[in-house]
Every structure is written in C-alpha cells, then in structure tokens.
Amino acid sequence: MEDAPALKERIKNLMVENLMLQVTPAEIGDDLPLFGPGGLGLDSVDALQLVVALDKNFGLKIADPATAKVVLQSVNTIADAVQKKLAA
C-alpha cells in the first residue's frame, strides 16, 4: 500500500486533471473543504466527475449521495476512504 502523503498527492493530481481546476495540486490543502465558500468551490457536477474518477482509479465505489457527502469533504477524507478500500 502506498503511504498517505503519496496517496494524497495522487488524489490532488487526479482532481486538478479531471476537474480542470485552475489551481496546482500543491495549492490544495489536505483539509481544505472541497465544497462551499471558503473551500475549493467545487459543485455537484465536479462531484460527479470525482466519483467516476475515484471509481476508475481506485475502484472506490460511492454508491449514494450520503456516502459522497462523507467521503468528498476534503483530500483527507477521500484518502481515508481509499486506504480503507485498498486495505479491504
């Protein structure tokens, strides 16, 4: 299993690439909220793309909106979910 910093780096790259964000991966803090004001400012369409990207890249299935709300809070929460999935 890859270590946490490397995994978070991968997730950030994935986000910048897939969501065509106008920021660099380094500018995304591990704890930065992905949605809402004061955060990265993603919207529901970004969330949909992120769900597909996480599935394709890590096999992480986010089946319902409630799970998405928990997992897609920040890079940290995504990394936790991916770690759990990889450990399972």
Partner: protein, 202 residues
Amino acid sequence: MPTSSSPPSRAVASAFRSTSPNRLPGRKLSHRSCATHERIDVLVNNAGRHEDALLAHMPVKSWQNVLDTNLNATFHGCQAVLHAMIHQRSGRIVNVASLSALLAPAGQTNYAAAKAGVVALTQSLAKEVARMNITVNAVCPGFIETEALSSLGDDERKAARSRIPMRRFGKPEEVAATVRFLACAEAGYITGSVVKIDGGIL
C-alpha cells in the same frame, strides 16, 4: 491534445431493443457494450411508440406505455452510458424526440408529453455534462415515411401532405443524416439543441 479527438481505429455499432418497460436496458447495456467495444462514443435513443387517444378516453395503460417507451427508456439509456462517457471525457448523445413535442396535437397528450419530456431532459442533461465534453441533442422529426405512418389511409396521407410546406413526407435517411451529423466531431460545440426535421411545418 485530448485523446478523445483521435478516432477509434475500428468503430462498432450495436442496437439494443427492449420491448418490456420493466426490462429496460439500464446498466447491463452499458457493461455489455463496454465489454465488447471498450468505449462508448455515441448513444442514440431512438425508441418510439404512440397510442393516440383523446385524454378523456385514454386507457391508463396507454399513458404508461407511451411514457415508458419514449421518456423513461431515454432516461435509462442515458444513465447507462454516462459513467463511461464521463470517464472518457467525451461522448455524443442524440435523442429522437418528435415534432409532436413542439406541436402538441390533439389526441397525443401521452406522446406529446413524453417527447416534450425528452426535449427537456436533453436540454437539462446537456448542461450537466457539457464540462465533460459530452454533447446531448434532440431531433424532432415530423411526418417521416416509416411504419408510424402506415396506419394512415390515402385520404389522411393526402391531408397530412397538404399541411407540409415541402408537400412531401420526410425520408428516414434524412433523419439519420441529421443524427449522424450531431454525432460527428464537427458538431462538437452543439449541445442542448433541438433540431426540427419536418419539411417546414413549424
């Protein structure tokens, strides 16, 4: 350069048909298609069915059948391919609606409502997926020489033709050519559009 612009070396087309509204293709279609073809570039939702009757006398079953085949099947078809297209960051969806969606003729409350639903679905979905380079458009054929017109008698055909400024019914090929155009690379900036193919009726 986006890889999505490079044409596949071998293009394959598949047609899926489901006559039972309870067994709409759904995700199985997508998985089957992906397994066979590796990617999905174009989806054309072409299923159509009409059971004309005045609303006052319309059997509930006719309402349901027509909504299922025309509108619900379009929803399921789109949902089946979207994940693949989002992952590819490219795709073309063409929904075959009808001039009835815009004309709303008497005797077609079910069909007109279903096809108008297809038009609205098209425009709404187009906005949802535009960012992923997926286009969603609808075509609205008028009177086209298919089995849908076979129920008309000679007099009815004559009357229908006289309502068409071009004084002729359309050919299936003329609808197909429009669908093909909307599916091709040159139509890349067209999305959420509704194209009438009706010889000038509306």
